[in-house]
C-alpha cells in the first residue's frame, strides 16, 4: 500500500529536505520556501518524469497575510499527482517565474498576476489578460469587496412595492410561529 507514494516522498525529502506527506492513494504533497520551488519543479520534471503541469492555483490566507501557491504536476509513468505548495507574502507578492520550465505556466502566471496581483519577475505577456479596463484592486483578493464594487458600478433594481417576505406570509397563512433562532433572517 502506498509504496510508490512513500518512495517519491523519500526521494524528495532526501534531495531537498522538504516537508511533506502522502495525502492518499496517488496524491503526494510537499511544501517548501518559494526560492526552492523552481528547483524542485525542474528536478521532478527532468529526473522523476513529472512532465505534466496540471495547474497553478492560489489561495488567499488573508488573516495570515500570505498567499499559498499550489503547483500540481502529474507523472504519466507513475500515475501520481504531486502538489508542490509554498506560502509567499501578500505584500509585496513576488514569486519566481517558472515559464522556462513549462511554457504553459506563462498563462497561469499571467492569470495570477491579474487576479491576485502576484508579480513574477521576467514574465512576458500583456498586463491585461482576462479582464478589460480593470483599474481596481485585483478582484480575487479576499479584501476586494465585490458587493461594494458592484453596488457602486452597476445599478441595483429596486424591490417591488408589494414584495412579501415569503416565510412570514406562509407562516401567517398556516398559523405557525417562526422559531426564535430563525427570526434574524426575517426582513424587518
Amino acid at each position: 500500500m502506498l509504496e510508490k507514494e512513500q518512495k517519491l516522498l523519500e526521494i524528495l525529502k532526501s534531495a531537498f529536505q522538504v516537508e511533506g506527506k502522502v495525502i492518499r492513494n496517488r496524491r503526494v504533497e510537499i511544501w517548501d520556501h518559494k526560492e526552492m520551488v523552481p528547483a524542485i519543479l525542474l528536478m521532478v520534471k527532468t529526473q522523476l518524469g513529472y512532465k505534466h503541469l496540471n495547474h497553478i492555483t492560489c489561495i488567499d490566507w488573508l488573516e495570515e497575510g500570505k498567499f499559498q501557491l499550489v503547483y500540481t504536476v502529474f507523472s504519466h509513468t507513475d500515475k501520481l499527482t504531486l502538489f508542490v505548495k509554498t506560502k509567499i507574502d501578500r505584500d509585496p507578492a513576488i514569486m519566481p517565474n517558472i515559464d522556462d520550465i513549462w511554457d504553459q505556466a506563462n498563462t497561469y502566471e499571467r492569470e495570477l498576476r491579474e487576479m491576485y496581483g502576484i508579480e513574477f519577475p521576467g514574465l512576458v505577456g500583456d498586463q491585461e489578460f482576462i479582464l478589460e479596463d480593470w483599474d481596481e484592486m485585483p478582484p480575487m483578493r479576499r479584501d476586494f469587496k465585490t458587493d461594494v464594487y458592484a453596488e457602486k458600478t452597476f445599478f441595483a433594481q429596486p424591490g417591488r412595492e408589494d414584495a412579501q417576505d415569503v416565510r412570514e406570509t406562509i407562516t401567517k397563512r398556516s398559523g405557525e410561529e417562526i422559531p426564535e433562532f430563525a427570526k434574524k433572517y426575517s426582513r424587518d
Binding site: 479596463d133 476586494f144 465585490t146 452597476f154 441595483a156 433594481q157
Partner: protein, 181 residues
C-alpha cells in the same frame, strides 16, 4: 376611412401585422439561456410556426435575444451588435440575471439591470425560462408590435445620451465604432 383599431391607420396596421409575423432573431448566446434557444426553435416547440427564426447577422435581424447574465466584456459586444441592427428592432431579455442581476447581483464583472444600457421590450423571468415561457414572451412582443407600441430603436435614439452615460460607467476605455443605425 374608419378602422377597428382606430389608433392606427390602415397602412400602419398592415405594416405592424406583417412585422409581427416575421421576427428574425439574433440570439446572443450569453449566460445559461442559450441552451433554451435550440429547443424553442426546433421541432419540439417549433417557434417557426409563429414566424420566429434565426438570422445570420445583426443587419438581417429584428429581435435581439439576450439570454442571461452579461459580463462587462460581453456588454461591449452586445452594444455593438445592437447598434448594427436596423430599425425596427426589438430586444427580449431572458432570466432574472438581466432583470436584477439574479444570482450574480454582487459579482464584480456582470451588469445587473440590462435596461440601463439598452432598451428592452420584453423581459421573460425565470432562471432559466423554459421554451413555453420563451414563446409566451415572443407572443407578448408580437402583441406589442401589433399595438404599435414597440419602439425600441426610437427610444434608444431619443435617450442616447443617457444610455451612453450608463455604458461609459461600465466600459471605461471606450473604443467603439459608430454605426449608421
Amino acid at each position: 376611412m374608419e378602422n377597428k383599431r382606430n389608433s392606427q391607420t390602415i397602412a400602419e396596421y398592415i405594416k405592424n401585422w406583417s412585422r409581427k409575423h416575421s421576427l428574425f432573431i439574433m440570439a446572443y448566446g450569453t449566460g445559461c439561456g442559450a441552451i433554451e434557444i435550440p429547443a424553442t426553435l426546433t421541432s419540439r416547440y417549433d417557434a417557426e410556426r409563429l414566424g420566429i427564426r434565426g438570422a445570420a447577422t445583426p443587419r438581417q435581424a429584428d429581435v435581439l435575444l439576450i439570454t442571461g447574465y452579461l459580463a462587462t466584456k460581453t456588454l461591449k459586444r452586445v452594444i455593438r451588435v445592437y447598434e448594427q441592427m436596423q430599425d425596427p428592432k426589438y430586444v427580449i431579455a431572458f432570466g432574472s440575471c438581466t432583470i436584477n442581476g439574479g444570482m450574480y447581483y454582487d459579482s464584480y464583472n456582470t451588469i445587473n439591470v440590462l435596461e440601463k444600457y439598452i432598451p428592452v421590450d420584453v423581459y421573460i423571468n425565470g432562471c432559466m425560462p423554459r421554451p413555453e415561457a420563451v414563446i409566451a414572451g415572443f407572443q407578448q412582443l408580437q402583441d406589442k408590435i401589433a399595438r404599435g407600441e414597440a419602439d425600441n430603436g426610437t427610444r434608444y435614439k431619443e435617450n442616447l445620451e443617457w444610455y451612453r452615460a450608463n455604458q461609459h460607467r461600465v466600459i471605461k476605455n471606450w473604443r467603439m465604432p459608430d454605426y449608421n443605425w
